[in-house]
Symmetry: C2
Subunit: 219 residues, 2 copies
Amino acid sequence: MKTVTKSAVRQPPRGIPLDTIRRLSICLRALNRLKERGIATVNSVELAEPLNFSSEQLRKDLSYFGRFGKAGVGYNVGQLSGKIHSILGTDKVWNVAVLGAGELGTALLGYSGFEDFNLRVCAALDNDPRKIGKTINGVRVSDIAGLSGVVRRNEIKAAILTVTKTAAQEVAQKAVSCGIKAVLNFAPVTLNLPKGVHVSNMDVSCELETLVCRLANCN
Amino acid sequence: MKTVTKSAVRQPPRGIPLDTIRRLSICLRALNRLKERGIATVNSVELAEPLNFSSEQLRKDLSYFGRFGKAGVGYNVGQLSGKIHSILGTDKVWNVAVLGAGELGTALLGYSGFEDFNLRVCAALDNDPRKIGKTINGVRVSDIAGLSGVVRRNEIKAAILTVTKTAAQEVAQKAVSCGIKAVLNFAPVTLNLPKGVHVSNMDVSCELETLVCRLANCN
């Protein structure tokens, strides 16, 4: 087995499981921590086990995209990080808008997790005159009436939706009409958006409910 | 097919897919909306399709737990809601603590999604003297040094972890030592906790990264 060159990194075909993509992004974050500690190589066991999945799973996930690592040596941390960035499409910066500058939007504008990825939360929008013009964690809140221009000027394709559940569907539709192609939805509602728009639900209450179900039944 | 009685609702064995539980909790929320609108019966297509999954999937999910609904009539909204509560273990109220009363913790103390479930966020804890004693969205912030007593007095089994990524592992371990059995983790780190503790990661950045990957590669 030999280290692959960049050209050998295949783009994920449509059939790649979402969980594979999720695990690779978790790996990317772990690789960043290794880089910070000056660690140059890591094997699949050392990388996967602290992340609570198996080295076999990691090797299977990576195998969708080519051959990685050197037998008996492991992965070069910097190279593997670069390749995962390339697989995930975040070898370039992605600008992201937060829709809704309430408490949750404010929290996400200061969220430290984005630092590991090339995700730049560069815009916040709201319809509340008391919020418009304020700067939250370095980002100025704009009037959501001007969403279209903000999206165009910043080449924004993805938005984080943190408006109330009653406003969520309407704001999401507006975002899509302005060119947004991916929505991370925190509102506790199911959005109905056109085909081709990617939606991921950060459904805090359902996730807590699921946890409680495991507690209630598995102990 | 006939409507089942409560005794026919089976508890989920360990092998039930997590996604089944998630879909049922999403259904529960939709059933609450139907009840608010005074709708008494619903069939599997009417219930499942607005939630973006198929009626076949819903019927399969429910079939793990017994037989539901009446052929040609559909489900009684109130009964199905009660049965799903029973399946999920939320036919009783579950008290939940928020660990970390920063921006994200504050937002979650006001999150409207919990209303659909018997989840009661009844405690918030922090180690910052400027936050301790404050009341946020009706919940008083306690000193995290007194976590053990708060957990015992309120019979809390589940916690939402919103502390910084550097504090997350330590605070989660402390919570587990105080009797917490389930952690909804918002910190962008992988927690290592004892076997038997349920952890669910609300990994905002990884989820956004996964969305961007789909955007980068699927268009």
